[in-house]
């Protein structure tokens, strides 16, 4: 028997999480055309009917498997491009133009749709349960009014990782220093019911200013909650050179297979007083560009790392086992959800020692840089930093 630590890669679950998944902004689907969304190991067709209601069905016609996402919206129904079978948002076949009657069994998989904060949410459950409206993410007061900028929206493909990798970030205090170039000065987690939260305060790393990452002038307060398995609301208060901005970031994903997912994020900025409309939208765009860097830093890690079922932790690490226990509730039958998975758990890490080591490392980097007589970082008095961090 060797003392070498074994890396248990485990096996990914054979199902996709139960819960609400966000497909994107409502406005992106409101054009009377069918939209194809890769999700849950297949493809969904999403379209808007004449009442303005969005519908989501399995993307393949139950007749001969035609691709409904390449079909046509006719009236309230989606018509298959192969034989023109008409499917309604309730999952029933409404008409077959060349047939005397529609087979009684002509029902396809439908995904219940709800709109939250201008975004399209679909319910997925391998057991086929009715959608649980009580666990929809909360409404965001003021968002969608003139007080906030319009949602930005971006999609990043993660073709070779299970989506649990992004969930793990909820508890990963140390990666914020190494991957996102910031000092987490305060770090807490609370898991309870279907919600998992990270509370964090951080400062930018002065030694990374020159490379466009991290910024010593940046002080960030972040509260980020997963409402269910895939939809995070991240409230961010950014203080940049005394200029305070409130940002609400949505970080969500759609699993596409047991080893791939689509990461999506969008944000609104509370319009600062005395800033005109155009500038406010510009600030939103700048934050979106900035957060993109952060997400890409994460994606790069996920695409190259091994899955690990038995992480080896040190005492400064966050509660990854407790987080995964919480996450497990979405992958078992509803009847098999245990109290442990949903019981409240609180965690506060001691960032003191870690920050002492990190401050030394950064000071050493700065000394070396000065000695190398490196060109000084470009300074900018812009209202949005070149780099800001999220809770992911």
């Amino acid at each position: 028997m060797s003392d070498t630590r074994f890396l248990d890669k485990g096996k990914p679950p054979e199902r996709f999480a139960r819960g609400w998944h966000c497909l994107g902004l409502e406005s992106a689907f409101a054009d009377g055309k069918p939209h194809g969304i890769e999700a849950f190991g297949g493809k969904l067709v999403v379209w808007q009917d004449s009442q303005g209601k969005l519908n989501a069905l399995d993307g393949y016609c139950r007749h001969m498997g035609g691709d409904l996402t390449q079909g046509t919206v006719k009236g309230d129904e989606i018509a298959c491009p192969f034989h023109d079978w008409r499917w309604g948002g309730d999952g029933k076949c409404k008409a077959i133009p060349y047939a005397r009657r529609v087979p009684l069994r002509a029902r396809t998989q439908k995904y219940p749709v709800e709109i939250r904060n201008g975004q399209v949410m679909v319910w997925h459950d391998a057991e086929g349960s009715a959608p649980d409206l009580d666990i929809l993410p909360p409404e965001l007061p003021g968002v969608g009014t003139d007080a906030y900028t319009d949602w930005t929206w971006e999609v990043l493909d993660v073709p070779t990782a299970h989506c649990r990798e992004i969930i793990d970030n909820v508890v990963d205090m140390a990666h914020f220093f190494y991957i996102h170039f910031a000092f987490p000065t305060s770090f807490r987690n609370v898991f309870e019911g279907h919600v998992a939260t990270q509370f964090m305060e951080s400062k930018g790393r002065p030694d990374m200013g020159g490379s466009g990452y991290g910024d010593a002038d940046l002080v960030l307060k972040s509260e980020a909650s997963y409402y269910g398995p895939s939809y995070m609301i991240n409230w961010l208060w950014v203080d940049y050179k005394g200029f305070e901005t409130e940002v609400i970031l949505i970080n969500c994903h759609i699993p596409t297979s047991d080893n791939s997912f689509k990461l999506q994020y969008g944000l609104v900025v509370k319009k600062p007083e005395g800033v005109d409309e155009e500038t406010a939208q510009y600030i939103g765009k700048r934050y979106s560009d900035t957060f993109k860097q952060g997400f890409e830093q994460d994606v790069h890690i996920w695409l190259n790392k091994a899955p690990v079922q038995n992480p080896l932790l040190c005492e400064e690490d966050g509660p990854v086992y407790q987080l995964r226990r919480w996450y497990e509730q979405f992958y078992v039958d509803k009847a098999d959800v245990t109290a442990e998975m949903t019981d409240r758990f609180e965690f506060e890490v001691d960032t003191t020692k870690a920050n002492e080591y990190w401050q030394e490392e950064v000071a050493e980097n700065l000394r070396r840089k000065a000695a190398e007589d490196a060109s000084s970082p470009e300074s900018s008095d812009d209202v949005a930093p070149d780099s800001a961090m999220t809770g992911t």
């Binding site: 038995n310 005492e315 995964r324 098999d336 003191t352």
Partner: protein, 100 residues
């Protein structure tokens, strides 16, 4: 039924170590809640609640009633005081054991 299936039995032991080992029961000085507490240092604290304890906490009940604000509560200040008192009295071992 496990969803993410480990391939080694040692992984189950790791799960037990990291989630259950070293939890000390602490009773709140202000209500009937009893929670499991682990401290890796003065400041580092894990608090494991159960349903019964959660129901007993009047602070959380009050916070649940508040219409404004987000529904996630950082913690109960009375329980935090109780844990600090217990730690001061030496009732909670402080310091990790090989990372758990």
């Amino acid at each position: 039924m496990a969803s993410f299936v480990p391939t080694s039995p040692d992984t189950l032991e790791d799960q037990r170590l990291y989630t259950r080992a070293r939890l000390t029961e602490v009773a709140c000085l202000d209500c009937l809640a009893k929670v499991g507490v682990k401290k890796n240092s003065e400041h580092h604290t894990s608090i494991q609640w159960n349903d019964e304890a959660r129901r007993q906490c009047p602070e959380f009940s009050r916070m649940d009633q508040r219409p404004e604000g987000r529904p996630v509560h950082v913690g109960c200040p009375r329980l935090v005081d109780s844990i600090e008192t217990a730690a001061r009295e030496g009732l909670i071992p402080i310091g990790a054991e090989d990372g758990y």
